[in-house]
Point group: C2
Chain length 319, copies 2
DNA sequence: ATCTCTGCTGAAATCGATTACAATTGCAGC
DNA sequence: GCTGCAATTGTAATCGATTTCAGCAGAGAT
């Protein structure tokens, strides 16, 4: 009798003892599958991120795991690989596995799948990126503001032809950081030059190729803003191979700190996003929603800070 | 009637059509939980790695996911965080979730849990690290040989006081790389100095602290061998902060390439392990075992290569 | 015409836990 | 002594898919 487990009342000590002993004897191991089937939910949290190889997301994973484990949940992690179809497939899979809820970094800011989830009362939290038009819990950082701040910093340091290598605009991060870039230029009266703006999937290789494109122009940029850490790595490689010096030939400022960055000379100016905290908050929001599925959706926006270092040092006066 | 799905024979076209239509109408979504309960196994592969923030393992994850997805499996990823208890807990959890099989990077080379798994015919593959005394599928790299090769290289380049920062000997990688180090010294008649050998959990912070310890000695090493990529990062930070030059003050050679290493000057000499291939092979072994649980266990040992770069450049002649 | 066999279909058992419900006992209150 | 309630425990329904079993219709053989 399973009343013994889960400490239900109305069981005599004698019986409780007998049951416990038998359990030990048989090396009994309850099937979570059967339990999930009966209870119609499990103690599993689904976590779908868009790139397992991106240190930003591994920090998020770490945080979600810590919170989940503390509360007795396990984490089912999947890698959507910036692919909307993979993402949808994994969401369906999670659903079929009866997860208690899921945290997703949506590849595209419009996806009908989320509307369905919300309507069906499936606890779900969007992290890092927003989903348009669906009232759901969301944890993001202040991308527009942070991008604007770091680009403004470049402008204030004397840079005028500021290139931008951004993630695809389909993801809200890409779009918002682009907007921050545009806003900063407008605010300082610096003309927006479309030929200096590139976007692609946030992968190191793309950062490399797009930066090469910028540098190959007849009037190359005097500074580059990268909208993602992998793009930053690619940009560094391109600048490096082009034999250019930072910041004298071209300044560089990007998103996200990485743990080896102290090695890079000159030190890089970056927007520091609170990755771990984002994961924590997302996990907490999810657990709250699991408890109370009817709570009003919350949108948490965390502050990022610009860490100014040498890669954006004041430009020498130019002719 | 579920004979329609899974294309069983003995169903008329009329019925098949009717069923399919109803399925569409109701937006029917089969419960994998119920299926798992009935069939006593699922289409999920468990993957337990010891550090989600280690790029080596994220490559492995990537590979396992690619193979799994191709074969219609989903991956349930967990992070044991180098903690034997967490690892065992997750294994139990996977078992209770009726995974089809699991791939684990064992934190300790002796763990009775694995014997039980193998005896109970649960498909399981050890990756990156061995488990002693249990006949199971294993995918590792040739750690002893690779460590020996890279340390020999240091010796041949004129270094004599070679320090070692290794992972804990409980994990087979730590022990084997240590053995490779010892072998190389012995082979070249270089005395083994115990005070130059340190080990700890493979984390960046430990690499930092242990390297500081080595450097603080009255007779500090003229070269350091690091047995893991995170330890390498830590060692770099320590050397960096100590204001020492590589390789003139102290040479450095370690394990594992990382994608940003082209940025580090001088370029680092490293052992390149085929991380992605290890993941692939492990996934393939697992899938084979799922199909045939009685196959004899295989041990795959992959070759690593030493990538010689500037951080181990020939030492200037010393007094 | 009867029997068999094949092709197909519906009904029912099954997986292992949870949980609702019924049955039993003991004990207090009237 | 009888009723009523609480404490305890056994029984059975349930979750949703798979799978076995039995039954039925029609074709072909005898």
């Amino acid at each position: 009798m399973s009343r013994v487990l889960s400490g239900k009342p109305y069981v005599s000590d004698a019986l409780r003892q007998r049951v416990l002993e038998t359990i030990r004897e048989l090396d009994y191991r309850p099937s979570r599958v059967a339990r999930s089937l009966r209870v119609q939910r499990s103690r599993i949290i689904g976590l779908i991120i868009s790139d397992i190889q991106n240190p930003f997301f591994t920090s998020v994973v770490r945080a979600v795991e810590d919170v989940a484990q503390q509360r007795g949940y396990a984490v089912f992690l999947c890698n959507s690989d910036e692919d909307v179809d993979k993402e949808s497939t994994y969401i369906e899979l999670m659903l079929a596995e009866q997860v208690a809820g899921m945290i997703v970094s949506p590849t595209a800011s419009s996806n009908e799948v989320y509307r369905r989830l919300v309507e069906q009362r499936v606890p779900v939290v969007a992290i890092d990126r927003r989903v348009d038009g669906v009232p759901m819990d969301t944890v993001v950082s202040d991308n527009v503001h942070a991008a604007c701040a770091v680009v403004s910093h470049l402008i204030e340091n004397g840079y005028r032809r500021i290139g931008a290598i951004l993630g695809v605009p389909g993801a809200s991060t890409g779009a918002e950081r682009h907007q921050g870039y545009v806003t900063a230029l407008a605010h300082h009266g610096v003309p927006l030059l479309p030929e200096l703006v590139r976007s692609g999937l946030p992968r190191s290789q793309n950062g490399y190729e797009l930066t090469l494109e910028l540098l190959a122009q007849s009037q190359p940029p005097d500074a580059i803003f990268t909208g993602n850490n992998l793009l930053t790595i690619g940009a560094l490689r391109a600048i490096h191979e082009a034999g250019l010096g930072i910041p004298d030939d071209v300044a560089l400022a990007g998103f996200d700190e990485m743990d080896w960055m102290f090695l890079v000379k000159p030190a890089l100016t970056v927007v520091m996003q609170p990755a771990y905290e984002m994961g924590q908050r997302a996990a907490e929001l999810l657990l709250e929603r699991i408890v109370d599925p009817d709570r009003a959706p919350q949108a948490v926006v965390l502050q990022s800070t610009v860490k100014v270092r040498e890669s954006s040092r004041r430009a020498a006066m130019r002719a």
